[in-house]
């Protein structure tokens, strides 16, 4: 008990001392050079209306590649760790009629919405990651509704592998053509139009597929273990 109190005290003190420093950081004030640059020239340089997307996919595209890798990594690791797991699980009840019927209708809509989100990443809030996750949520619904339903591992693997490789190739094309990895080698177009911003929509589409496949894979793996 005393130990617990001491621990709490310790962390409260730690929090206070952290807070006493954090408050030196200004709040709500205008930002410095880099952010200014993105806001002022971002649209011109990238052709993307959504500056966050511009930052995510181009300026800090390398981070995003890493991010995709992290997800891929998580999916792979999950697959590796849960490989060959067999619970002596209780019998699974099939889900209710309402769920399965609704799922049949909602599933394509969710897919469609997800696709919309990642295709319009450079125009509106959203992008590859939300889109991919939305798609995965459709599959989650599917898994809930049809407990026996399987998604082929091969398909998932193929999708994420292809998307990943294409992403890398896109980046390398930039390297080849503009001497800089992930450089925007396609025409920028007019900001605000669907077909603009060069490689950003392309990459977001790839990311959307990839994230969708990976998240579905994660879900599938986690479902699998319940068998």
């Amino acid at each position: 008990m005393i130990k617990k109190v001491l621990i709490i005290l310790l962390f409260v003190l730690l929090g206070l001392s952290l807070y006493s420093v954090v408050k030196y950081n200004t709040f709500g004030e205008d930002k410095t050079v880099v952010a200014r640059h993105y806001i002022d020239y971002g649209m011109k340089e990238t052709g993307s209306q959504n500056i966050v997307t511009a930052v995510v996919v181009l300026y800090r595209g390398f981070d995003t590649l890493g991010e995709v890798t992290v997800l891929f990594l998580a999916a792979t690791a999950l697959g590796a760790l849960l490989h060959g797991l067999r619970f002596k699980s209780k019998e699974k009840e099939p889900s209710s009629l309402i769920v399965s019927t609704a799922a049949r209708y909602i599933f394509p809509l969710i897919i469609l919405f997800g696709t919309y989100v990642f295709v319009h990443g450079h125009l509106t809030p959203g992008g590859g990651f939300p889109g991919g996750v939305i798609i995965a949520s459709a599959f989650l619904l599917l898994f809930l509704a049809y407990t026996q339903k399987e998604v082929s591992e091969k398909t998932l693997s193929l999708t994420e592998g292809t998307a990943g490789i294409l992403y890398v190739i896109t980046g390398l094309l930039g390297l080849v053509m503009l001497n800089s990895f992930l450089a925007n080698f396609l025409p920028k177009g007019i900001p605000g139009k669907l077909l603009s911003a060069g490689i950003i929509p392309l990459i977001y589409i790839l990311i959307g597929f990839k994230v969708g496949a990976e998240m579905t894979g994660v879900l599938r793996n986690l479902k699998e273990e319940e068998k």
Binding site: F27, G28, A35, Y38, V55, R60, D63, L81, F87, N221
Partner: protein, 114 residues
């Protein structure tokens, strides 16, 4: 209390609270939840850092006047994804541990020490 103090305070509280949960709880799932809370706190901290009073989302359509800093938003996007990955990772290990021990109590896995 200005807005900064509130957000920063909340962020720090989340971080510390998360760590504290991770340190004191014994149920593995709760520990992972603690870690998640901690990540949320960090994300809040990042976002708060990038906030500009009166700013809107940095989407450069016709209506924008003042936008918030886009960088932290991008960073948080990444950080969230990483958090998800770590959580997934942790859960998969926990599943395995549950398989071996039939328990989620972390005290049961103190075999390796000294």
């Amino acid at each position: 209390m200005n807005g900064g103090a509130m957000f920063y305070g909340a962020a720090i509280a989340l971080i510390i609270g998360g760590i504290m949960i991770a340190a004191t709880k014994r149920n593995l799932i709760k520990i992972i939840i603690g870690l998640n809370i901690m990540e949320t706190g960090v994300n809040l901290l990042l976002i708060t850092t990038g906030y500009i009073s009166g700013g809107t989302a940095p989407i450069m359509n016709k209506t924008w006047t003042k936008v918030v800093d886009p960088i932290p938003q991008a960073l948080v996007l990444t950080a969230i994804v990483i958090g998800v990955a770590v959580t997934a990772m942790a859960l998969s290990i926990v599943v395995r541990i549950y398989e071996k021990n039939n328990s989620l109590d972390i005290r049961k896995i103190k075999e390796m020490r000294w």
